[in-house]
């Protein structure tokens, strides 16, 4: 327990200059804390401004329609072409694939941890989920390169296993921890009375969980899904290691490039319009992320209002 500093009263005997100095200190500290407080806002503004300033010129030069809906990306060709539709679609498909597998599995895991596991199992689950979310994305990428890619190649008899499908598998594993932990919190927050009422009406435990608890936790689970989408669409390193990294239009067994990897893979050797176009890609990605954040905020706000 913290003791309250008893030396405080002494400073109470302030007279003239001493009081002025103390007031000045208070004013300085107040200003400092206020500046610190608004620094996060400043960072968001700076990031947005820098991305817009460096991303917009190339879009203007290429033309927004050609840029967003062009299907051919050949940044280093003699006659360069900067269409990023392949990257946008790949990011959307890849994220969708990850959600398709990751969300149901994640929700089932959360149901297990919140409703079926005893204390020990629940804390073990929480530990494993914590470990999973702490594992760096390059490690997931390494595992993907060594295990998933060869497995996909063997199972489907492909010349190369580094494709959209492998990326979906790795992404669906990577979004699991956020889906599990957020859904679990949502499931635990459902009032016990709901479940008790359902059980008293003769429903079994499993029926109660799936027909009462899960629907009641809907908004929390929706939050989990949106978070998962954000994580999947923003992942760069792991995807770069397993998706093959060729600017094709997406197909399930095509070697593809995501929005994130398009930026990362050419940045180190790019120049001129090519470099500017990479910033434009980042701007598009940023717009996607802001859209997801906005959705998340709306979902959370709506669920807060309900309470």
């Amino acid at each position: 327990m913290q003791a309250i500093d008893v030396s405080a009263p002494k400073s109470n005997v302030r007279k003239g200059g001493l009081k002025k100095a103390a007031d000045l200190l208070e004013a300085v500290m107040r200003t400092l804390f206020t500046v610190c407080g608004f620094i996060a806002v400043g960072f968001v503004v700076i990031i947005t401004v820098f991305l817009i300033i460096s991303g917009v010129p190339a879009i203007g030069e290429i033309g927004i329609i050609d840029f967003l809906f062009g299907t051919r990306w050949a940044s280093t060709a003699a006659e360069p072409s900067f269409g990023i539709l392949p990257f946008i679609l790949t990011s959307v498909y890849g994220t969708f694939g990850a959600i398709l597998v990751g969300v149901p599995v994640g929700i089932l895991c959360a149901v297990f941890a919140a409703k079926y596991a005893n204390r020990k199992m629940a804390s073990l689950t929480r530990g494993l989920v914590g470990l999973m979310s702490g594992i760096p994305s390059v490690v997931y990428g390494l595992i993907g390169m060594i295990i998933v890619v060869p497995a996909v190649r063997e199972i489907f008899g492909l010349p190369d296993g580094a494709n959209l499908f492998s990326a979906m598998i790795v992404l669906s594993i990577m979004i699991l921890p956020s889906v599990i932990s957020v859904s679990e919190t949502a499931l635990r927050a459902v009032p016990k009375e709901y479940e008790e009422a359902s059980l008293a009406l003769g429903a079994t435990k499993t029926e109660t969980v799936f027909k009462v608890t899960l629907p009641a936790a809907k908004s929390g689970i929706l939050t989990a899904v949106v978070l998962g989408i954000g994580r999947a669409i923003g992942e760069a390193m792991a995807v770069m290691m397993v998706a093959g990294n060729v600017a094709n239009m997406p197909g399930i067994f095509q070697s593809v490039r995501f929005l994130t990897t398009a930026v990362a893979s050419e940045m180190s050797y790019s120049s001129g319009l090519q470099r500017q176009a990479l910033f434009s890609i980042a701007l598009v990605l940023f717009a996607f992320i802001m859209l997801i954040n906005l959705t998340l905020n709306l979902v959370v706000k709506r669920s807060d209002k309900k309470k």
């Binding site: 913290q2 968001v44 914590g130 994130t260 802001m290």
Partner: protein, 292 residues
């Protein structure tokens, strides 16, 4: 009627069993998957974690690899980042919890922090490159990388500190003020010491994020493998890759999977330690709440 009812209940039973099996299967598979991954990485990586690897730098002449520079760079970046982000983050949390009276301002700051937390690290890498490497002309350097990570870890520090400030009983504040302490004196001597658990938790979580970060550092801190002195890390122009970045380079660009797995094993051990540390700190934080 009875027979109809019994078929219905048979259907019910099957459905019930099926759903239950699904739940257990999902949990079991996920659990086995993660344990399998951990064991696999240790199995492939630990045999290659040798003293020679840990204590030397890569040498083309001898044909040896070493990750000493990467270990040092990781430590430097953790140190510099925390040095800068701690005052900023704790200050922001103190402002939000102790000073701010305008609800709209609080909401705006919290919204900004949430936005920062949601931005993917590749964007941080790019913006860090634009701001610190080019605009502030720090060049590709450990310092530029650290500054980028300051922005990235800020929301974590703000959130954990704020959570723990909220658990400091108001009586402490009133007591200090009643004894005649000024507001800053009250914060320094009473509020902050009681919130130390949250600050520590924030630090641990940030270290975890820094250790695992790669996309944000590739273009800001670079991929160099030279051993840097402590003060060199603070000067612009000295590039250096962390463990996670070097893992990527070894795996993807050089195809040296033995070294990559050795680094992965080290990263995994660090992740485990950080998780245990964070849980421990969070438990202490939880106890602080009970104390009220």
């Amino acid at each position: 009627m009875i027979s109809k009812n019994s078929t219905y209940s048979a259907k019910r039973k099957v459905k019930e069993k099926l759903l239950k099996a699904l739940v257990f299967a999902a949990a079991g598979i996920t659990g086995l998957l993660i344990i399998g991954v951990v064991i696999y990485i240790f199995f492939r990586g630990l045999p290659h974690v040798t003293l020679g690897l840990l204590a030397s730098k890569p040498s083309l002449l001898n044909g040896t690899v070493g990750i000493l520079p990467n270990i040092l760079n990781t430590l430097y970046i953790i140190f510099i980042t925390l040095l800068i982000v701690l005052p900023l983050g704790v200050g922001a949390a103190v402002y939000l919890n102790e000073y701010a009276k305008n609800k709209k301002a609080v909401r705006l700051i919290e919204l900004a922090a949430e936005t920062l937390a949601g931005i993917p690290s590749i964007i941080y890498g790019l913006v860090g490159m634009l701001i610190f490497v080019q605009f502030c002309s720090l060049e590709t350097s450990v310092l530029a990388g650290s500054l980028t990570l300051v922005i990235m870890t800020l929301p974590t520090i703000i959130r954990t500190t704020q959570e723990s400030l909220k658990t400091v009983p108001n009586g402490y504040r009133e007591g200090a003020l009643a004894l005649g302490a000024g507001k800053w004196h009250m914060i320094r001597t009473t509020v902050l010491p009681s919130a130390v658990d949250g600050i520590v938790t924030g630090c641990i979580l940030s270290v975890g994020r820094i250790v695992g970060e790669s996309a944000a550092l590739m273009f800001t801190a670079g991929m160099a493998n030279e051993v840097l002195g402590f003060f060199e890390a603070f000067t612009p122009g000295n590039a250096g890759s962390t463990l996670a970045v070097s893992l990527y380079v070894y795996a993807k660009e050089r195809g040296d999977f033995d070294t990559a797995f050795a680094i992965a094993a080290i990263l995994l051990v660090l992740t485990l330690l950080i998780n245990i540390g964070a849980n421990f700190a969070a438990k202490k934080l939880g106890k602080g709440k009970d104390r009220k």
